[in-house]
Symmetry: D2
Subunit: 383 residues, 4 copies
């Protein structure tokens, strides 16, 4: 049976809501059944009509969605809630959903603050329900492959890692126009204490920790607000010290005019290293100290079970961002379905981002902003 | 309302059926409602279970699917039939579907022979129903853009065009293993008179005519069967004469060991030209005689309405093969929905491959095989 | 001791003369000692001044250069003549040089006609002197590597080969301007019976035969003159049948507006294949049926002795066109020096293009033009 | 007349000496006339033989070279000295050469210490002789183009710049083998206080300041010695504050196993930005906030006079590292020749690295090492 999904947020004009709906639909594992698409009941209703939802499953508030769905018979009510609102509206709906027995899919960063994130983990643990965080980039097959290669230690211990996420879309004062995406992402009341660091720095951070299997232990951040009038950071570069003593560097900026979304990671051991970047998402460059670089590709027979599990097409038919997103939805669904069947999902399906990644992401935001204000070189990464 | 879709073919072990289902699901415009997934009723039923279909909407033959669905109330019965069987099983289901009032989505090549294709066009015309052919590659946003640039004559009249589709997956005698895809594609009884030319040559041909807006008028083909024991061609190169007098070349092979699916097109006028290839699908290179090459990208604000209409994500978040496929499904749905509403769909939605492309594709197969056997250099392209 | 070099042609406004001079100078193996840079004695003299030549070593005709240099003491006179004139002025100076005991470096194509080429071979054989032909592209380290990999049969017998040389610089009627390069290359009296086929088609043909180690046995050519008013072909595509039964395709055009000089070759056996292109000249893609593509690179330790011999810098410091050109000069010098020392040069040094490649190139020109005019599909490749 | 060149260092087994000789020879502007190739007179002599030098122009020490050449008649003695020894042997020969009236070409980094660099500038000023520093990468045509575009302010003021130089060749303890290059570069007595930062960090630093036209004012460095037993740094990442308030990041490492020499720079203003990397040295990506990225290429007609001046071949015939190196030699020669003729060289020729770049490079080394040891985040960049 498809999992019945309710969505909070994602009305007209939103960006990420539509992405979540495609990701949920793509593999036929979810049925979008209910929604509170806007806190404006009329707007929520209009979105529901466009999405062909039954009118009585469209709500004017997330509270209504959760409480009223809970009243429905178990075989009919939604099972999973996807929360796709701005950051300041993550915690409350997630808390309510978990406490009322729903599983949760949450857009990143997990919450508005680290304190909320810690609290949410406790709530989730107490609830017995699961939470999935859509750190999209770790859904790419070749990112999975990258992690597997490093996990299998083919390069020797990682000694250096670079991650970068250059964007250009906030090069001008977009929040002064009618750009809704820019408006909330640069607003401390909705985005939190960080701008670029929260929006894309967390992605870079998550990608680094996921691929290397290491954790950031110290950091030294140069955090900037480049565009005059902007209220949050739009640029940063961060020196890193990782859990095995390796060093790293993280760069994230939203003022690299002309750049799209080419998040990229490189990591090196003493025998070789790897490079992956979104612009060529189905390629993983595997480099060696003394033999030719290899081009590992999505959809081939030689990649790991993790990479194969997260692909749908033969090599050369590119899988993209929506498929990476859908992999997270799919793995979460397979995990939930296995649990419902009293089984444990295979490791490939269990490999989706959740509470721990969410907490570390929020800790990154707080630590990187602290470091940005500090005169000391190194700031301990505290969680 | 979502369009109710029935599928013929696409049971376990099939490749393209799953792709069609994702393409149909991705934008939430179709509901897979019924299916005859195999001519083995038991297998069909098993697939239906996996796909969460109501048991009474799963049939053991395409005839049952069509005749029994037709018995259902109009508000409940399927509206569109997707046919994803091998080539020899295209015509009959398509005919029956059209004659019984269903719209048809058909995998390419359209039929087993050109004669069938011509006949199908007549049947479709008489039926008042529409037919969509899934020539995937023309669904890519940057292929749309390529066509628009040439349509707008920015390069001057096209003087030279190259198209190529190199694959390596049939480099060995795969039909001697349990590879089902190889088995039917190399079997004259199921594939038709051509192997590689039908399977991928038609894609290359369609891409060339779509992008340039020109038609092939003469051709000179070198058609080869490279792998010993194979019964159909697995390789070919074709010189072309186009409708405006331009020349071209088409290459398609399935024995380029190590190649994936990197279909590629280049076309040139006297002021400049363009290049697109699937491996970098979101990039269109626009070249100029006397100024820098431009990199046109999916998801940007400067591309044509056709390219924008066929994209879902901001620039830099790659759209892939499944999105290209879904664009064909989506445009067909938008066209049907407009018609149902008594309207005409916008040109961007009407831009999907159909009967005419199907007939030209079948004519390509027949002409290219004739030329391959001919001692004459040029063979007229007859339809 | 450096080899004393005399140059014929290469005065002001010429392109290839300067390239030859750099190629000769780069490794310090030649000393440009004399020249007849122009048939206009005054112009020749002016070039000699710019090049710091002794005035009495600068001549007003190639006849003077050869006959007067021959009068000089052996320890002083030039040893090698480089001929860098348009095609119609290749044979006579080469003949005279060889007959007077000089070795010859000749720009391609070897002569004005195949008959001249055959004759030149006989003259050279009789003279005991050597001739080197500057088919630049086979001088690249990664082209050497490509040939070695195929020679070592790592892919299995070659079954398919593609070569292409797209240029755009003759997209307009350049011969109507003061473009000297365009003028002679499109002039039947100076270029011969072919334009693009002679200028760049021969390069593509040579690259194909060199890399694959196979010979063209039949061809089917579509030869076009695209630009109105032009007197020779500026575009062509050719189907090929190779000596082991493999098929191939060759494309060369000078009207692909916006293309530079991206000559490219691909060849495939049943286990894998390779791809090289000038735009990324230090990379050889080595592709496999069932494992990752490998990126072989100039300057690494794992490439063949032929690739290593023809490189000067560590990996990642790109070697370019001038180094490829210089490799031909260098290998010819090493061969001559070994001979002078009564030794045989190592195979890596002996690997430079010469008379046989020149004759086959001229045969290509004649056969491809015959085929272009023929209504028959296949033309035997006769030499 | 060719400039008569004497070389100090560059005997058998050296790497950079051969590069300098090719760079000097390539354009025919220098004649290698004398040399002290080794402090071992026998070895120096042997190298002289290989290079076809007159035996009496080959010396056993740099002192002999300089003092004895000075005794020769002016029309015969060398005019320029190229110093290609390890860092600790830069200052003394340079000083002596300048003080004795020779111009100097010096490999980077300029000296062993910043104090030496400052002193050398004074000596040079007093001598009236010129000094050229071979910061190779600024010799590439597309690096010239990058600087010109920024100088012409087409992107608006630069707000962010990234430069990186990843190498892998010191991933193992190479200094424990017979690798001479590794031996001196990791030896504090010969290399100075820095390893990677001096060897390649200075290149990255120079490239950044050259392209952006800005100067580093503060830095925050993470400097590491990754390989056990190594005595100098082999890795570093540096946060930068530039003279216009912009921020930047510099990465240089010699332990990125599998990386070659892909030095790369990116810089952004508010309208767009640019990207250049050595692996694709003839391409400059010019990016725009709201229109397609442009691919600027070496050898085209649309690039600046600086880019055109530093190229020798038509677009598509790649120019490489040796040509970039030769550009520095050539520009220095053109500058000297103009001066000898009582003229001023054109700005394109005057654009070569010299004393000021050398001093800033040495200051970078000292400041970056200080910062690496500091607990403070920011260290003022002092010269």
């Amino acid at each position: 049976m498809k999992l019945r999904l309710g969505m909070i947020g994602g009305g007209q004009g939103a960006f990420i809501g539509g992405i979540h709906r495609i990701a949920a639909a793509l593999d036929g594992l979810y049925e979008l059944t209910a929604g509170a698409f806007s806190s404006d009941a009329e707007k929520s209703r209009a979105t529901g009509v466009l999405l062909n939802l039954a009118p009585d499953r469209v709500y004017g508030s997330f509270e209504d969605l959760i409480t009223q769905e809970k009243q429905r018979p178990e075989a009919e009510r939604i099972q999973v809630v996807a929360i796709v609102t701005p950051n300041h509206l993550h915690f409350e709906p997630a808390r309510l959903a978990l406490e009322n027995g729903f599983h949760v899919i949450l857009d990143k960063p997990m919450t508005f603050s680290l304190a909320e994130a810690r609290q949410l983990k406790e709530i989730a643990s107490a609830s017995g329900r699961k939470l999935c965080l859509t750190h999209t980039y770790t859904g790419y097959p070749m990112v999975k492959e990258a992690r597997q290669l490093i996990t299998n230690n083919i390069f020797g211990p990682i000694r250096k890692a670079y991650v970068e996420y250059p964007q250009g879309w906030l090069s001008a004062f977009e929040e002064g126009t009618d750009n809704k995406q820019a408006a909330w992402r640069t607003d401390p009341a909705r985005s939190g204490i960080a701008g670029a660091m929260g929006d894309i720095g967390t992605h870079a951070f998550n990608l680094l920790e996921y691929v290397t299997g290491l954790q950031v232990e110290k950091l030294c951040a140069d955090i900037n607000t480049v565009v005059p009038g902007r209220r949050l950071d739009d640029d940063g570069a961060v020196l890193l010290r990782l859990s095995n003593g390796a060093s790293g560097a993280l760069v994230a900026t939203q003022v690299a005019a002309g750049e799209e979304n080419n998040i990229r990671i490189r990591a090196y051991g003493d025998k070789g290293g790897l490079e992956w970047q979104q612009v060529d998402a189905n390629t993983l460059q595997v480099k060696w100290l003394d033999r030719p670089t290899e081009i590992h590709r999505t959809g081939t027979g030689y990649v790991s079970s993790f990479a194969q599990h997260n692909a749908r097409t033969p090599a050369g038919h590119p899988e993209g961002y929506l498929e990476a997103f859908a992999n997270i939805y799919r793995n979460f669904a397979l995990t939930l379905q296995a649990e419902m069947a009293g089984q444990t999902a295979p490791p490939e399906a269990l490999d989706y981002p959740g509470l721990d990644e969410g907490i570390r992401g929020m800790a990154f935001i707080e630590n990187v902003i602290v470091s940005g204000h500090s005169d000391k070189k190194w700031t301990e990464f505290t969680v």
